[in-house]
Symmetry: C2
Subunit: 396 residues, 2 copies
C-alpha cells in the first residue's frame, strides 16, 4: 500500500468537483479517496443509493443523511424531467432545496431510462426522440438538453447523454453506438463548459460533467472509448452499459479493459452495480463509485442482505424468529425489531416493512463500503477480498 | 373550573388501569386527567392513533413515541387474531414486545371489524361466526375468546365484544342488540376477572377491560345500556356505534345521553371519532379518549389537516408552492419540506408522501389534544370551543 497526497489544482477545488487519492492497494487496483463537491466531501469507494424521483423510496432525507450517513445519492434525469420537470425544480432553487437534501447529488443523463422505459424511441446522431412512459407524450433528449436539465437541477455531478446498448449486440452495432456516445459526450462537454462559463441562474455553479464509457462487451471498443473520452479532461469518468444481462465475468473483463486507460487521478464510476459480494470486485478493479437499485428494490420485495447472507423474509422459518435480522448490524431495524415482526409486516403488505427493510439494506451496503475502504487504507484489502469470495462461494 | 385530586384506590393503581381527574371545565363536561397503565401514564383527553396490524401505517415506533409523543395507540383484535395470530404474539412476549412499543396499547374487541369487514357472519347470543376477509376461513368470536386473544396480546386496555349495529336500525332491533352487547359484556368481564385472578402466562397482568355502550341512535337505550354496564364497575367505559353514517348532531346527542350515567371517576372512550373540529365537541361532552383512522387514512389519500384548514395536496395551486404545509407546525414534515415537494411525491405515488403526510396529520391531532387539555386546565375551554366552532363555520 502507498499513502498518497495528490493535491488537486487550486482552481479545480473552487471551480468544480475534485478527487483526492488517499491510498492505493499494493496488489489490486483498489483505491481510497475523497471526492470534494459543493455539497460536502465523500469518502470513496462509495455506494450511492438511488433516489429516482428525488426520494429514496421509504426513507426520509434525515434517515439517509443523519442516521445512515449517506453523503451522495443518485437521482434520475429522465424521471425528474418528466415529473415534476426541471424548470419547476430550478424555480424552487434546484434539486437540493426541492428535496431538502444538503449533501451531494449525482444525476444520470436519462439515456439508460429512455432505452429501458420509454416506448417508440428513435435514435439518431442528433439525439433521441421518445414517448413518456407516463402519458405517451413525445420528448427529445439531446446531449445539450440533458445537460440543461441537470444544470437546472443543480446536480453536483452530471452525466453526459449516452446510448446504452442492450446485451448482446454485434461488434459493428456496438462500434457505431460507441462512436455516437463519444460524439454526444463531446457535445455535452462543450455545452456544459459554455453554460458554466456564462454561469447565470445556475443553482449549483460548482458542478462537474462525467462522460460514460460504452462499447458493449468488446474490450477493444471499451479501450478506444475510454481513451477518446479522456481527451475531454473531465473531473471523472463513468463505465456504463454494465449489468444489462451479460454474465458477470464479462462485466468484470470490461472494467479491467477500461480502467487502465482512465486517468489515475480521477474518480471512476461503475453505473448500476452491483450485488453485495460484487462491490469489492469492482473496487478491486479500480472503481470508486457505484449505484444500484438492488438494496432498495430488493428490500421492498422482502430480500434482505445481512452479514450472514440473504434473508428472504417471507420464509415460514422466520414466522416466530425473535432474533434481529442481522445481529452484527447497528441499524434501527436490527436494534429494534425481530425477524418475526418484519415477516408479519411483509406478509400483511404494511408500508413499515419497506421502511425498515430499506433502511437495513442501505445500512448493509454502506457498511460493506466502509469495510472495503478501511481494508484499503489499512492495506488488508486483498485478504478482505479473499474472505468475501470464500463466503460467496460457500453461499452458492 | 375546579382542580381535583381524586386518588384512586391503592389496589386499583397496582392491579389495573386507573384514572386520575386533574381538572373539570366549569361550563362544559370537559375534563383533564391522567390515565395510569402498566406502560406509562397518559394525559387525557387523548387521541389514540390507529395501528391496525401492530403498525401505524407509514410511521416507525420511534417516530410515534419519541418524536410525536404518542403514549397510547390502538391495535385491532380482529386483524391480529387472523394475522399473525394471538398465540404467536403471546409466544413472542406479547404485542408490546412484538411490535417494540414501550407505551400503552388499547385493543378493540374485533366486533366492529367482524361487522364491517367479514362476509357471511352469523350472530347469536353465543357469539359471532364469520368468514375471514383474507381467505374465507370460518372463525368464531365469543365474549370469552376475544378476551383471551387480547390477554394474549397483553393489551393495557381490552374491549368487551359488542354488536355494532349499522345505521339506521329499528328501536326493536337496537334494543335486542343492546341487550346482547350487555350480556356479552357481563360474560367478558367474568371471564376477564377469572383469567386475571389465575394470572398465569399473561404478558400483561395489569390490564383492564372496558365494556361498550351501544343502543344505536336511541337515547333511552343508550342510557339503559350505560346504567347496566356501570354495575360491572370496570376501570373505564366506551361509547361505541358512533360515526357509522348518522348525522353528526345525532352522534353528539347520544354522547350527551350516555355521559351523565357513566361514573365521573372513570375514563370515557368515544370509539372511532372524529374530524379535527369534532374533537373538542366530544371532549366538551365528557369524552376522555378517542381514536380514528382519519388522520392516517386521509394522509395517505392526500388530505392534510393544518391549523388553517384542510389542504388537498394534489391541487395544482401547490405545484410550485415553496411554503411548508403548516407554518405553525413543528413536525418534521413542516420544518423540512415544501408543499411543492409533497405534491410531487403524492403525484408520483411515492411512499415518502404517506410517511411525511401521516407524520404531519398525527402531529396535528396531538397538537389539538394538547390545546384542548391546556384550555381545560387553564379554564379557557369554553372560549377555545367557541373559536373552533367559528373557524369550522367559516370553513364551510
Amino acid at each position: 500500500m502507498r499513502l498518497i497526497v495528490l493535491t488537486p489544482p487550486y482552481n479545480l477545488i473552487l471551480a468544480t468537483v475534485s478527487f483526492e487519492l488517499i491510498a492505493e492497494c499494493s496488489q489490486t487496483r483498489a483505491r481510497a479517496g475523497l471526492l470534494h463537491t459543493a455539497h460536502g466531501t465523500i469518502e470513496t469507494p462509495v455506494f450511492m443509493p438511488v433516489g429516482t424521483l428525488a426520494t429514496v423510496k421509504g426513507l426520509t432525507q434525515r434517515d439517509l443523511g443523519d442516521e445512515l450517513g449517506v453523503r451522495i445519492l443518485l437521482a434520475n434525469t429522465y424521471h425528474l424531467y418528466l415529473r415534476p420537470g426541471h424548470e419547476l425544480i430550478r424555480s424552487l432553487g434546484g434539486l437540493h432545496k426541492f428535496m431538502s437534501w444538503p449533501h451531494a447529488i449525482l444525476t444520470d443523463s436519462g439515456g439508460f431510462q429512455v432505452f429501458s422505459l420509454s416506448a417508440l424511441r428513435t435514435i439518431d446522431d442528433h439525439g433521441v426522440i421518445f414517448q413518456s412512459h407516463l402519458d405517451g407524450a413525445t420528448h427529445t433528449f439531446t446531449p445539450e438538453s440533458t445537460v440543461d436539465a441537470q444544470l437546472a437541477f443543480g446536480s453536483d455531478i452530471l452525466m453526459a447523454l449516452d446510448e446504452c446498448p442492450e446485451y448482446p449486440v454485434s461488434h459493428e452495432y456496438a462500434r457505431q453506438s460507441m462512436h455516437r456516445t463519444l460524439s454526444w459526450a463531446r457535445q455535452a462537454k462543450e455545452h456544459f463548459d459554455r453554460r458554466l462559463a456564462q454561469s447565470q441562474d445556475l443553482p449549483n455553479p460548482r458542478s462537474a460533467l462525467f462522460p460514460i464509457v460504452q462499447g458493449s462487451m468488446f474490450a477493444d471498443l471499451r479501450r478506444e472509448c475510454a481513451a477518446r473520452l479522456t481527451e475531454l479532461d473531465t473531473a471523472g469518468y463513468a463505465i456504463g452499459g454494465l449489468a444489462v444481462g451479460e454474465p458477470r465475468p464479462l462485466s468484470m473483463e470490461m472494467v479491467e479493459a477500461t480502467e487502465p486507460v482512465l486517468p489515475r487521478d480521477r474518480p471512476r464510476y461503475a453505473m448500476g452495480v452491483g450485488m453485495p459480494h460484487e462491490l469489492s470486485e469492482y473496487v478491486g478493479r479500480g472503481v470508486d463509485m457505484m449505484d444500484c437499485v438492488l438494496p432498495t428494490r430488493n428490500a421492498r420485495n422482502g430480500c434482505l442482505f445481512t452479514s450472514q447472507g440473504r434473508v428472504v423474509i417471507k420464509n415460514t422459518r422466520y414466522r416466530d424468529d425473535p432474533r434481529p435480522l442481522d445481529e452484527n448490524c447497528r441499524c434501527y431495524t436490527c436494534t429494534r425489531h425481530s425477524r418475526a415482526y418484519l415477516r408479519h409486516l411483509f406478509q400483511s403488505g404494511e408500508m413499515l416493512f419497506a421502511v425498515l427493510a430499506t433502511r437495513h439494506n442501505i445500512q448493509r451496503y454502506l457498511d460493506i463500503m466502509r469495510e472495503i475502504r478501511h481494508a484499503i487504507i489499512s492495506d488488508s484489502f486483498p485478504e478482505y477480498l479473499k474472505c468475501v469470495r470464500s463466503a460467496a462461494t460457500n453461499a452458492e
